[in-house]
Structures are given as structure tokens and as C-alpha cells.
Symmetry: C2
Subunit: 215 residues, 2 copies
């Protein structure tokens, strides 16, 4: 498979972790979101994804899959071992909800295109953009922490003792939050789980600085 | 089941459509997002969902499910007829990606909490908030239209000839876009599919103005 990827995109990073957990090899095609005004806006890439976003997974027959969570669910269905979702429906709903706190509530407000719009179109200075970033990051992660604390299914990882889709989303978001110097010390369960994840080879191999095109 | 609901929330609206398509009855508990500074911020509701958001689905045993797409996937797994996802993995990935364009790329930028923050904290006036709203709505819906146009699986509905998770997300977002007077005439496939959906009893019964607590 081919992964259209940007090393610092946390949505791409989720898919890299999932591919690595499944033991699947991939060919990366770096799409640099900053170079030349953003390669994702060029005609060539818009033919691949009209939403102008990474990741895109291209299958052997040329099929193009977009949206990180949809891609990870596809990988989990076609390559069921190790599973990235629990065996029971309530457990799957919980893991998907944790993933969506990050993928729907938190990350969409704090990605590159939004921070750029806030600066260039809304005229927010760096301090106000940092306040914005921290506000939504903490709103999301503090809810995430409560959901981990109050549920007996939380284990070594977000759900039980094996990494799931929720962990694939959490670790990239923490990388992102640290890069923006967001305070995280008051989130001990998240911190403990991140440390568990970050010691695993699959999470290590997916790290941004190890990807082709990292600068 | 009990649905913690707000009539105008497009995330709640998605779940109401899915419940109605499945032929399931639900008891609505309205959580008014504006009254008294927002009932979602009160201690009682934060114990139900620390993310302070609707919808929440409470099962007969008290289990609380959050995040609209996770709830709909749960409903689809436990009540498989009629299916809201295609039978094949690539089709499921496509429908989930369409749903996530709305649930992850578009809606999170344009919901009440974000528009409130832009006005109260960032000091954006009504014109600039409308520009913001339209910018992200059109970015998302224009990509959605291209993905519908370029794929032979688009049928009477977003994917084939039965409503799926993608249609459950599209119709509430269009309701929202019309409310904010966003131009949509240049999106003919979306318009045609919305007309198909809006004629179905399940989509009609889920309409915001027909819910308890609508004002």
C-alpha cells in the first residue's frame, strides 16, 4: 500500500501506528503541507483527495481511502490480528468514542489550516492562537482523562491491555500538544498510557522525526 | 433507550435519523445548550458526559455511549436491519470517510461552542463569524460533492440506493448550513440526495422542530 503522508500530521501519525501494529509495510509519499504554499493544495494531490488532507491510503488496485479513522477501521477489518477494536459492541463504542474525542472534538480545531486561518484571516496574534490551541486541547484531553478514570475497562492502555484505535489517536495528539507547550501534568492516566505506548516498537517506528520528508 | 438530545444539534440529529431508520423508539431528555448558560455545563450533565456534549445514548443497563458516529456504529452492530454501512470493506471505508468529512473536518469548526468562543474571546464580529462558518462549510461540502461525483457507488443516496451513515450526517449538516444562509446551489448531487432523504419518514421524524424542547 501507499500512504500519502506528512510527518507532522497527527492524522497521518495515527495511520502509521495502526499499519505498524498490524505489521504491514507501506511506501510513503510525503506531501509537505508547508512547502510551496502547501503541496496538498496542488492539482495533482487534489485529484487524489479533494479534501486536500493527508492521510490517504492507496490500495494495490488503486482504490483511494481517506480519513484516518475510516482507514484504520478498514485495516482492522482486512487484517484482524492484532485487533484494534474490542470484541464486544459496548467496548467498540467506547473505543470509537475515545478516538472521536480526539478526531472530532479536539484535533479539527487545532490543525495547520485552522491556525493559519486564525492568524491570516482573523488577525489573531501568536498569544491568542496559543490560547485557542490550549483551550480546545485541554477541553478534549480533560474529558478523555475523566472517561478513562471512571471506567473499569481502562487498563494498561486506553481499553484493556492491548493498544486500540483510541491509543492510535491519543499518542499523536500528545506529540502535537507537547510541541505547542500545552500543560499535561494534571492528566496522570493519559500520561501513564502514553508512556506505555511510546515504548512499543510500532509506536516508535511511526514517530514523526523518523519519516521520509521530515525536516 | 434514552437519548440526551438538543433539537438543533446536528450531531444529535444524526443519531435521531439512525434510530428512526432502525425503527427503534427512544425517550428524549432535552439538554438545552443555551438556557441558563448551557445545561451541558452543569454538574448533573457533566456526570453523564464529561465532554459536555450531546448526543449521549443511555442503554437499558445504564451504559452511557457518547460521540454520534460511535453511537450509530453501535446501533448498526446491535440492530443490523436495515444496514447503515455497506457489506464490503472498501464500501464501509468510503461511507465512514464521507461521514467523517462532516463529523471531523466540517462540523467541529462550526458548532455552538466554537462560534461562541470566536465572538466572546476572539472578538470576531457577526460578519467575520459568518465568513468563518461559510469557509469551512463549503470546504467540506465541496470536497464531499467531488467524492460523490467521481465514484460509481454513488446512487440514489450517498452510497447505493439505501441511506447509510453518510446520509445520516449529510442531512443535519445541510439543515445547519441553510440556517446560516450558506450558498449550496453549486452542489447538485448533494442537493439531489438531500431531497431523496428528506422525503423519507425516518428523516422527517428526526427533524429539529419536531423534537421535545424545540423552541
Amino acid at each position: 500500500v501507499i500512504l500519502y503522508d506528512y510527518f507532522r500530521s497527527s492524522a497521518s501519525y495515527r495511520v502509521r501506528i495502526a499499519l505498524a501494529l498490524k505489521g504491514l509495510a507501506w511506501d510513503a509519499v510525503p506531501i509537505h503541507l508547508l512547502h510551496g504554499g502547501g503541496e496538498q493544495h496542488g492539482e495533482a494531490f487534489r485529484a487524489i483527495n479533494p479534501a486536500r488532507a493527508v492521510p490517504v491510503l492507496q490500495l494495490a488496485d488503486g482504490t483511494l481511502l481517506t480519513q484516518s479513522l475510516a482507514i484504520i477501521e478498514y485495516l482492522d477489518e482486512c487484517h484482524p490480528t492484532p485487533p484494534l477494536l474490542p470484541a464486544d459492541a459496548v467496548g467498540r463504542a467506547r473505543v470509537r468514542a475515545l478516538a472521536q474525542i480526539i478526531a472530532s472534538d479536539l484535533h479539527p480545531l487545532n490543525n495547520l489550516r485552522v491556525l493559519t486561518y486564525l492568524g491570516q484571516i482573523c488577525g489573531l496574534d501568536a498569544d491568542k492562537r496559543r490560547d485557542w490551541y490550549q483551550h480546545w486541547t485541554l477541553a478534549g484531553l480533560e474529558a478523555f482523562e475523566v472517561l478513562l478514570a471512571r471506567n473499569g475497562s481502562t487498563g494498561r492502555f486506553c481499553h484493556g491491555d492491548m493498544p486500540t484505535l483510541a491509543d492510535c489517536c491519543l499518542v499523536p495528539q500528545l506529540f502535537n500538544a507537547r510541541r505547542f507547550e500545552c500543560p499535561l501534568d494534571h492528566l496522570p492516566i493519559i500520561g501513564r498510557i502514553a508512556t506505555e505506548c511510546e515504548a512499543l516498537p510500532a509506536f516508535i517506528s511511526a514517530r514523526p522525526e523518523l519519516q521520509p520528508g521530515a525536516d
